[in-house]
Symmetry: C2
Subunit: 256 residues, 2 copies
Amino acid sequence: MADPRINIINERLKEVKHVIAVSSGKGGVGKSLVASVLALTLTRKGYKVGLFDMDFTSPSTHVILGLEDLQPKEDKGIIPAQAYGLKYMSITHYSREQALPLRGADVSNALIELFAVTRWNTLDFLVIDMPPGISDATLDTIRLVKGIKFLIVTTPSQLAFETVRKLIKLLKELKIPIIGVIENMKMKSSQLIRCQVENHGVKFLGEIPFDTKLEEAIGSVRMLMETDFAKKLEEIASNSFKGFSFERLGACACKL
Amino acid sequence: MADPRINIINERLKEVKHVIAVSSGKGGVGKSLVASVLALTLTRKGYKVGLFDMDFTSPSTHVILGLEDLQPKEDKGIIPAQAYGLKYMSITHYSREQALPLRGADVSNALIELFAVTRWNTLDFLVIDMPPGISDATLDTIRLVKGIKFLIVTTPSQLAFETVRKLIKLLKELKIPIIGVIENMKMKSSQLIRCQVENHGVKFLGEIPFDTKLEEAIGSVRMLMETDFAKKLEEIASNSFKGFSFERLGACACKL
C-alpha cells in the first residue's frame, strides 16, 4: 500500500523542478560544503534555489553560511527563511527545541514532517544536504520524493569510496538517477576514483583540489565564494549539469 | 524497568577491564584509524585487546587492517577472530548477509545482539569503533555497557568540533566518563580546539599532524604502524592513559 504521505510531500514539491540530493558514503568528505556552495552558485546563475539541510547527524550548512540565527516562519505550514537569494531550511530548526537527541524513528518522522510542511513554492532547484551513508532518512527520502536525483561526493580515500560503492549499488538497484560523483579534497594526481566511478556506469563530474583556505571561509558567504573550492565547483556544475538541467530549464518551464 | 539485556551484555563483558568507545561528532575525522591503531598499539604493549567495529554507517576497520576475509566462529555465541594479536569483531560480519540496508531499529537490535553473543573472554581493553555522532547505537551502547569510557576524535575544523561539542554535552549530562579528545589531521599551529576542549572541562590528549602517507598504508598493518600517525598516537596513548589504565592495570588485576 502506498504511503499516504507521498501525496502530501509531492503536492508540496509540485512547483520544484529538480530535487538534488547531495550525498556521500561517509561523513567528512565535504558534502555540506558542496551542497551549500552549489546552492549559492545556482542562485548566482539566476535560478530559484532552495537549500534543505537534512543531515541530522551533523547539520552544518547554517554554520557554513553563517545563518545560525535565521528562523523560518509559520503560515499554513513552514515558510523557509531567505538568505543570499536562496530559501533555507534546516533540521536544526526542528531539533533545537528537543532536549534529547532524537531516536531513529523520530528522526525519520521529523524529516518526513519537515518535507510535508515546508512551503518551497516555485524553485528551479531544491538542493538537499543529505545525511551521510545509507540511513533511514536516505531510504525514506528516496521512497517519498518523486524524481529525486543524487549527486555523490567522495574523497580520494579508499575508505570513503568503499562506502560510495555501496550507495551507488543501492541507488542503481532502486533505479534512482545519479547525476554523478565529485572527487573532493584531491591532493595528488590519480585516476583511481574516476576509473572506479566510470566502471560502475556512473558519470565522474570532476575533482576539486584540497583547499587549505576553505576552513577560514566558513561562516562568510563572501569569502566562501572566492575560494578555489567554489570556483572549481562552479566549473563542475556548469559543465556537468548541461543537458540535464541548465539548458533544459532555459528552454522550458514545465516540470521535467 | 531495567532492560534485561543489560545483564546478559555485562555478563559477557565481565572479564573485560576497560571498554573504550572511540567516538566522534561526525564522520571523516579519522576515528576508525585511531580505533584500529590504538588497538594495535595496546596489543604491542602486551595487553589483551579486542577491537569491535560497531560503525554500521561506514564500517572500515576491516579495510584498514586488511581483514576482509576474516570470519568469527560460532560456539555457544560468537568467538571473535584473531589477527595481529588482537580479537576482532565487526558489524560487517552481520550486515554482509543482509541483502538490504538495515533500518534504525534493526541496526540497534543487531548491535545489541552482537554485544550479547560475542565471547570476548578476558581482555584488558575492548576498543570500540563507534558510529559517528549521536545515533541510536551510541545511546544504546551507553545504556547497556557499564563502565564504558569515551575517547573522542576531532579535526581542527569548526564543523567537526561543533558536533563534538554536542557529544561532550550529552556524555556529561549522562555522567559518562570522557578519557579526552584527540585533535587529528592538524595542519597548522592553533590552540583553538585545545582551549575549547579544556573549557568544557575535558582533557585534551594531544594532536596528530595530517599524515599524507597514511592513505597508502591502509590495508597493511606493517606500513600502518610505521606511519607518523601511529607514532604520534602511541605517544598520546602512553602519556594520556597513565594513571587510568596502563599503570593501574600493571598494579592490579581486578576489574576497575
